[in-house]
């Protein structure tokens, strides 16, 4: 037993040294995570700001100017052009100079004063359906507000029913609060998978794996020794991003940190298992790298990191159940925004543990049975 631990420690130390002494893998550990943290933290957001808008106002009286002022004054919009005839609309949209054209007809004020519904025409670039819907939502909000204030001023009764929206967990619906906790999972997965995916393949390529297999080390010992650096590096990397998320990006961390770390550990175990499986199957480092990306890309897309899993076709949804990132994202967002603790997250812990155990055992079996 004591010998066994000694062998495992020796291997773990050797693995860490192998990663840290290699200049290329040192760079892999530091540069991509930092870059991605910046890219995702700052650039990736679902909110639209500074939408270029063109105003086509044929009315030119106080109420219409009031509406225009509200649109142009909103942080979401940015006035790009005033236009004065129909022919100007198409070129502006076609060339993507503006995303939306707001058209107020010549009878806008007249209709308002007469108490008739006054239509506001909105022409949106529908090429990106997602942004088009967002623009529509923002404009609808502005028009609803202005309706209310006009009604008040005229002493008319307010509408019979109105929405009083109060978003919980994320009161301002800041998409950064949604994305940044996700980055913890995303980056840890990428780094851990790549570090471990290279570990066995590197040795197979250099011929050192045979040398390791003729020692009295048992597969389980090799497995533990080889898992250790992946888990350690993943944990350090994950903690760094956690600190950045709470102190730099100021996302509130409301739940139990212990619950979060239990999740992180199980998640790392499954990522290491998958990485080692890929590594044991690969003969060269290049194959291992390709294998890692073949796993990472669908794992991120099918995790709910950006697009909701509920919107995916049923068969694809089934696939997401074997994706450890799916569970860890729920845990992350749960702990950050909902303030969850151990008992709330139980049902997300065990699937990750299961994925980890299965892949680790498979990788351990492959060590000796993969023919070269």
């Amino acid at each position: 037993m004591r010998q066994s631990w000694q062998r495992i420690t020796a291997l773990a130390v050797k693995e860490l040294l192998a990663v840290l002494k290699d200049k290329r893998s040192r760079i892999v550990l530091v540069v991509p995570p930092l870059l991605q943290l910046i890219v995702f933290g700052y650039a990736a957001t679902f909110d639209l700001n500074d939408i270029p808008v063109a105003i086509y106002n044929q009315d030119r009286s106080a109420p219409s100017r009031d509406l225009v002022a509200r649109i142009v004054g909103s942080p979401h919009f940015h006035l790009s052009a005033y236009i004065d005839h129909d022919g100007q609309i198409a070129p502006l949209i076609d060339t993507k100079e503006v995303l939306v054209v707001v058209h107020l007809g010549p009878r806008f004020t007249a209709d308002l004063s007469a108490g008739r519904p006054a239509p506001v025409q909105v022409i949106i670039d529908g090429r990106n359906s997602n942004t088009a819907l967002l623009v529509q939502g923002y404009l609808r909000e502005i028009v609803r507000d202005i309706n209310l204030s006009w009604a008040q001023r005229k002493g008319q009764p307010p509408p019979l029913a109105s929405l009083q929206v109060r978003p919980w967990f994320n009161s301002n619906l800041a998409s950064r609060w949604f994305i940044v906790p996700g980055i913890v999972g995303l980056l840890t997965l990428v780094v851990t998978t790549i570090v471990t995916a290279l570990s066995v393949a590197r040795e197979r390529e250099a011929g050192t794996f045979d040398q390791l297999l003729v020692t009295p080390m048992r597969p389980i010992e090799i497995l533990i020794g080889k898992s250790f650096p992946g888990v350690a590096i993943g944990a350090i990397e994950g903690s760094f991003i956690l600190v950045m998320a709470t102190y730099w990006f100021e996302v509130p961390l409301r739940g139990s940190v212990g619950a979060l770390y239990l999740g992180l550990f199980l998640f790392l175990l499954s990522a290491v298992g998958i990485g080692l499986t890929i590594s044991s199957l690969a003969v060269t480092q290049q194959q291992a790298m390709l294998g890692a990306f073949l796993f990472l890309v669908p794992a991120v897309i099918l995790s709910g990191f950006a697009t909701p899993i509920a919107n995916m076709p049923d068969t694809v949804q089934l696939l997401t159940y074997v994706n450890p990132l799916r569970y860890f994202l729920i845990i992350l967002r749960g702990v950050f925004l909902e303030g969850s603790s151990y008992s709330d997250l139980y049902e997300y812990y065990w699937p990750m543990a299961l994925v980890g155990l299965t892949t680790l055992s498979f990788a351990g079996w492959l060590f000796r049975h993969r023919l070269s």
Partner: protein
Amino acid sequence: MSHSAALEFERLCKFFVSDGMRVAALTDVSIAAQAGRITGLIGPDAAGKTTLMRLAAGLLLPDRGEIRVLGIDVVAAPLDVQAAVGYMPQRFGLYEDLSVQENLELYADLHGVVARQRSERYQELMHMTGLGPFTGRLAGRLSGGMKQKLGLACTLVRTPRLLLLDEPTVGVDPVSRRELWGIINRLVEEEGLSVLLSTAYLDEAERCDEVVLMHAGRVLGQGSPRSFSDPMRGRAFHVSSPTLAKRILQNRIAALPEVVDAVVDGEQVRVVTREAKPPELGAVLANDSQVRIQAVAPVFEDAFVAALKTGRSFVEPEFSQPDRSTKSGDVVIEVSGVQRRFGEFYAVKDVSFSVRRGEVFGLLGANGAGKSTTFRMLCGLLPATAGELYVAGRDLRRAPAQARSRLGYMAQRFSLYVNLTVRENLRFFASAYGLDRRRRRERVDWALTTFELEGYGNTRSGELSLGYKQRLAMAAALMHEPEILFLDEPTSGVDPLARREFWRRIVALAEAGVTVLVTTHFMDEANYCDRLAIMSAGALLAEGSPAELKARFRSAAQPSPTMEDAFIQLIERQERGDGLAA
């Protein structure tokens, strides 16, 4: 007859940058190779042979100096040179999924050989290389020797005037080696080709018209092979004793101060002395009156060793006796009817042999003969398709991990961690074999001393030279004092001096009672073994002691055959369809 120069190097320097350090691959090299002759570049690995070849082919640019190939300045007009020379790199780019004929045609297309000349040229080449019956076979299915011949044929499709051959015979079986030399000689005699050829086999020096001896990027000498060996006249001797084993005799003689070199050569010991007088054996062989000393003709290798051997003395290795769970003479390795198939291809077919405790057992054969596959099966790294293997009474494929601690394994390629230092590597393997802290420290110190690595403890092992890497690998395999040691091509690619040191260590291990299983493609090394098995194309051709094997081929024409002669005859017998040697 006057010869003009086919190739001239003048004060050539070439540097490479590795790990931010400037390393000189060639320093002040000035060579001339005569037209219509075979010039041999002889030197150990990392002597700069390949760099020189690539410079001559215009694939590299020199940092300083001039190169003229066939009178053309390579730096100024590399394309003209490439049109006139044929270059065969160490690993020739054959397309393994194409047939022999398709490979030829591809190279004819690449070199723009005119269609009407082709069929005649193909016929010549196929006849010359003896590949005629195999034109339809995939190149990947050819033996190592046949691949080299096909590579040569592809280089020759458009009759170059100068042929650059980079180690064409390395790892090739002796029969193919002899045939390759036959082809090269015929090309020079019949077609007037000039040949520059590099080799690590010193016996091949004698086959060249001119020899350039290189070491560590410098030229040590140039001249005919005899101009090297003649000064050694009177310094080479054969020593034999009917009472002392040749390995012990060799070890004792090697320790004498006046002896430059002592190697086992056939059943005698070949001794080279510092001065032209026989060695004083009285000091080491006190009262052995039966020792016979006989002066012999010097060879190129004697000159090579004398030129390179520095004053450095060799540390006599001390190996402790491994734990004895077996008695001397017990069978410790048993292989019976073992086969290994990869798809359709049999890498090892029906091999059986057994090794007794304390023996040095050699597996002799060319690259691809199935030696490494047999080793991997014995070490439990590869399952056998059929048959049984027992090492120390167990099948390592199924044995518990603890059983593996009784053997040491040194793979063919350097397979330690290049990013770790020498000490870190040793420490890791000591721990992997379960040595406790105190024992680990003792063994690491022992390894550093015994393998003369003291100055390199903190050097990254990837930065060591090949000879030192091999020492480190052997040290790592011995950290846990195994009873059985597997050495897969331990001397491949290392220079002759390092090879000698290696064998002295192996012999010392065997004297300490360690069973050593070793593979080699150097025929002369077979004489160090107690017993050996000769393998070719996956089959075991013969087994026995070196003397027995050679005795089988003694004839009026060959009164004292060498191991190479025996090997060649074995293979020829097999090819004639006589079946396996009895």
